[in-house]
């Protein structure tokens, strides 16, 4: 055992704070080491000196004053009626600020979200199915294979639910020649035009949707023009008004159909 490092062990040993094994080892060392025994004796003397650190005799007046002050504090700080105390704590306690901050945050969030919810929800709810229908039609119209028709199921479904939309256009006379030249594709164009279901959102709040609908309507209109021309040539349909272009758009809602009458001139067609 290293005597130079024993001082702290001896300090603990003096107060009985060493673990048992270590205490036995140190006790055995002390039996053979004069220097460590002297140090251990000094520590014992120090503990005896420390025991002199006794408090003074506190007289009765000392304690009377303590009790009097405590009771005065208890009586003077008597809590208000519980309900009032709770209300006061709620309004003016340290939780009030946190509650006010939460309420303010929620209010700001609600105000910020209202325009978003108003502007995005209704049109978004209605548009997808309509746009999907338009998109399907657009793809079908612009697809690689000519004369794309809607999927049979969709067509059947549409026919079962609603009467087939009549999409007809009143082509200008000078278009007849072109239509005549495009006769081989007339039938496919007619098939393509007949069951067209186009949707447009003409509400002012969804300009983008309206633009898409207009684009599809223009496609439908041009297709209708071909189909009508073909049908006229084939004697299948005879538009009543030769000077007006009638465009009918079937929306996703089977009960809603948009009928658009526009002058026949190309420049008047919706872009």
């Amino acid at each position: 055992m290293d005597c130079a490092r024993n001082e702290k062990l001896l300090a603990l040993h003096a107060g009985g704070d060493l673990p048992e094994a270590q205490a036995r080892s140190l006790a055995a060392h002390l039996r053979s080491c004069e220097g460590c025994r002297r140090v251990a004796s000094d520590f014992a003397a120090g503990r005896e000196l420390l025991a002199l650190h006794e408090p003074p005799e506190f007289d009765a007046a000392f304690f009377d004053r303590i009790r009097r002050n405590v009771l005065r504090e208890i009586d003077g700080g008597a809590p208000p009626p519980p309900a009032f105390a709770r209300l006061t704590a709620l309004l003016f306690g340290h939780h009030a600020l946190a509650l006010a901050a939460c309420a303010a945050f929620l209010l700001v969030a609600a105000v910020a979200l209202v325009p978003y919810l108003r502007g995005g929800r209704a049109p978004a709810g209605d548009a997808p199915p309509q746009l999907a229908a338009v998109g399907v039609e657009a793809r079908q119209e612009n697809g690689p294979a000519p004369g794309i028709t809607p999927p049979p199921a969709r067509a059947d479904e549409t026919e079962a639910k609603t009467p087939a939309p009549v999409v007809a256009s009143l082509p200008h006379r000078r278009h007849l020649g072109a239509s005549d030249r495009r006769a081989p594709r007339a039938k496919s164009a007619a098939r393509r035009a007949a069951p067209i279901e186009a949707a447009s959102n003409v509400t002012a709040e969804t300009a983008e949707t309206a633009e898409i609908a207009e684009a599809h309507a223009s496609n439908a209109a041009s297709t209708c023009q071909e189909a009508a021309a073909v049908s006229e040539v084939a004697g299948l349909a005879a538009p009543a008004e030769r000077n007006m272009l009638r465009i009918e758009l079937q929306t996703g809602d089977p009960n809603v159909r948009i009928i658009w009458l526009t002058p026949q001139e190309p420049e008047h067609l919706p872009r």
Binding site: E7, K8, A11, L12, A14, G15, D17, D42, F43, A45, G46, R47, L49, L50, A51, L52, H53, E54, P55, P56, E57, F58, D59, A60, A61, F62, F63, D64, R65, I66, R67, N69, V70, L71, E73, I74, D75
Partner: protein, 214 residues
């Protein structure tokens, strides 16, 4: 309630009260019985004040600490579990109050007394008296040694002083000291060891200086 006899005798009588009587007092005090709480204070005031004095070093701080301890006890009396040791409970409150006062003292820049003393404001032996015997020389010697001890304690860092007071003067187990100081027992043992070494060195130095021809 003013008594002519020293307060310690009243406390001893009250402290010797049957534990059931103390539990009954606690139960009444929890319902708001002011007189019952005052009796609880009488039962524990000496122990509270003595502990506070040992930790803080002077009577004024000990009195303030005792008042605060009783106020906290009154405030948290409803959380006192029936069957719990009331003496141990209020003792822990007292130690925490003293530690808070030492911390506040330290934050305020040490002592408020003139002269810039340390946070441990000890009283000189001449400022108070013990119930000593008639031997003046012996009394003077004892007073001198007490002054040495108090100065040695005042020279210790706060945590070491608290650890050695609770362990060596209050007689608490190392684990209890660790719990009160919110630290580990190994840390407490290290602090006690260091404190005892410093106390020994300090006392040896003072005694050597006062030895004739030393």
């Amino acid at each position: 309630m003013t008594e002519n006899r020293p307060a310690g005798e009243a406390d001893s009588a009250a402290a010797a009260a049957h534990p059931d009587a103390l539990s009954a007092l606690v139960a009444r005090a929890r319902t708001g019985d002011r007189a019952a709480f005052e009796q609880l204070m009488v039962c524990t005031q000496h122990k509270v004040a003595a502990t506070a004095w040992r930790l803080l070093g002077n009577r004024e701080d000990a009195r303030d600490a005792a008042q605060e301890s009783f106020l906290r006890a009154y405030k948290y009396l409803k959380s006192f579990k029936p069957g719990q040791d009331f003496h141990g409970w209020i003792y822990r409150i007292t130690v925490n109050v003293c530690r808070d006062m030492m911390r506040a003292r330290r934050a305020a820049g040490g002592s408020s007394a003139a002269g810039g003393q340390t946070a441990y404001e000890f009283e000189e032996a001449s400022e108070w008296s013990h119930a000593e015997g008639g031997d003046a020389e012996r009394a003077a010697l004892l007073a001198q040694r007490r002054t040495i001890v108090r100065r040695a304690l005042a020279a210790l860092p706060e945590k070491e002083r608290t650890a050695v007071v609770l362990r060596d003067l209050e007689g608490l187990a190392t684990e209890e000291v660790a719990r009160l100081m919110n630290t580990r027992p190994a840390t407490v043992r290290s602090q006690i060891s260091t404190a005892r070494v410093k106390l020994k060195v300090f006392c040896e130095q003072i005694l050597r200086e006062r030895r004739p021809g030393g």
